[in-house]
Symmetry: C2
Amino acid sequence: MPSVSPLAVPLPELPPVPGVRLAACAAGIRYQNRSDLMLAEFSPGTTVAGVFTRNRCPGAPIDWCRSSLRSGRARALVVNSGNANVFTGRAGRTAVEATAATASRLIGCPARQIFLASTGVIGEALPYERLTAALPALYADLSEHGWEAAARAIMTTDTFPKAATRTATIGGTEVRLSGIAKGSGMIAPDMATLLAFVFTDAKLPAPLLSRLLAAGTAQSFNAITVDSDTSTSDTLLFFATGQAHHPRVPPAGGSALADFRRALFALLSDLAIAVARDGEGAGKLITIDVSGAVSARSARRVAFAIANSPLVKTAIAGADANWGRIVMAVGKAGEPADRDRLSIAIGGVWLARAGSVVPGYDEAPVVRHMQGHEIAIAVDLGLGKGSARVFTCDLTHGYIEINGSYRS
Amino acid sequence: MPSVSPLAVPLPELPPVPGVRLAACAAGIRYQNRSDLMLAEFSPGTTVAGVFTRNRCPGAPIDWCRSSLRSGRARALVVNSGNANVFTGRAGRTAVEATAATASRLIGCPARQIFLASTGVIGEALPYERLTAALPALYADLSEHGWEAAARAIMTTDTFPKAATRTATIGGTEVRLSGIAKGSGMIAPDMATLLAFVFTDAKLPAPLLSRLLAAGTAQSFNAITVDSDTSTSDTLLFFATGQAHHPRVPPAGGSALADFRRALFALLSDLAIAVARDGEGAGKLITIDVSGAVSARSARRVAFAIANSPLVKTAIAGADANWGRIVMAVGKAGEPADRDRLSIAIGGVWLARAGSVVPGYDEAPVVRHMQGHEIAIAVDLGLGKGSARVFTCDLTHGYIEINGSYRS
């Protein structure tokens, strides 16, 4: 299996975000000599919003963050890879409390303003003494240039670090948004994402951040799937340091935030697609557009039925334009669908229309398209105006390889 | 990949079922020199019941059978492999009608008493002239001993033929039940099965057959999954020739049918488990028992969330007792679950109890169990009395191999 996904995109240049300093190190949580711990510190007055996994068995850090979000205030973020601190009972809560206590002493803030996330193996006690022992040196090492190090420290089976950045103007003043994310298995829509953290120097109250994040998640992290599995640790946090000197934004946001919203949504979409590009074993990025459904919700369910179908995903891995499996996946979604109105395109070529194959369609461009790295599937149900777009990747030997021996 | 599943079971000896004669041949529908067509003829007075896929894009043979079932009468069954006659529009209906017409002329019965099923590639026109051309010779070749040939003719990616047989007594008279089935991808619970046909010489009215079949399906074909994909062709038909000389059974069935019901359910279960054993690429048969759920329905959903999780299935393929992924799958099912009451056993050893790992549990028997061919997972949710059992197989390189190049 390749060491880096063939779909990898280069890490963008990440300029400083005023009010954010970061550092990372190898704390030896699970792997030796591999960066596995990051700390981000935020200036006083930073607000925060978050969305989390809908998995019913969340990790201890999720419980902690959900409670801490009530105040809407944040001073730091501590993230480790290698151990998810999930299904660890009382020991999990102890680990979370000890980590937050250590960070809060270093920074001089309430423990509840420390946000935490963990990713990695489930069910093993997090050796949190290694985290707390590493934090003082990390704190001393904080820098406004620590972005790449942070993006790398949160990786698990990811083959490349993921980040995105944008600028936007609020009332004529430029603000910056930057984000980092990691995948790359257990990716499915009922969640925020695996881990993603977005930072801006805009000054926005926490409830407004929260609304922006919810709206942006629907079209980004909630529109990707790798394997239909929903992690117990998925966390998306959005921090606003308020260091930019733009005019005050009204509590409802409104038109003053139009450009900021656009930039945020584009950034979230970049991060989400980067996660799909690095799905475990991925050889192809697949974009699925469903139109003509009875509603947007119905279109989305049909799109995910296709995106999660092992038979569709293995056919694409094999560069086989097996559109019959797309018919099957549409039909199994349980949504309104009429076999005899269904049309399917691959790479922009309509192969099937109104319930049967298009006689003599040109196979050559379809074959070429299937051999590429980016596959476009379009399905029109011919029933209504609902549409949806989701992203996924193919299902390959690499996925089996990675997941048949993850713990060994 | 092995030519025959390591989980294969030998074909049982199948004695005649009075009133049933079978034959099979190579009609050249898709493959050369491979048996791909079977005909079964039933004595006059045979009753029939069926259950079919819930996929919204069913094949033309499903439409035909659903309509034909209204009379409850059958004189023949024609099944081909190699082409599913799905998403074939008007050509699909023409193929079905022509096949039924030819068979009905040979047998001398209404076309609507001919039942049809097709399995194989979707979206290509069924070359039905090859079927109709082959039927006269098949009809001449019918024999009460044609069981193995029939079981083989309906295979696609199956690696072994599947059949089961039982006897039962009705009012002191012995009757026989025999069935054949095929898998082995696109296997998920929202369906009857791929293809399964059950035959008995009992004399039972069609409505009673139908009730028996629905009850038996819930615990057998609707309790297996290979890959969560739901075929467009799944068909389970149950034929009763009425040739046995048992006392008349009351329309409600009742206690007179207790032994017959038991035998039927056991036979359906045998066939369903044989399909799971031959899931594409399967190296291990996995039995998942969920208890302590708030209801049986909830237990079933949790069991299927585990059975369909690619991360659970790949871990098992790698002989890795990664119970953390079982925690994840329980949590993603969306059913009531309390992380801190959850217990998990593998191979009878409880690894996790009440929300965390069992300290110092004995790993050796678990490791040995994981290396075997039959894996038992038990999950207790600790909430109520609902329980369910489902069967699946692991997700291996073989699955990718088979499905990445099925059409080529």
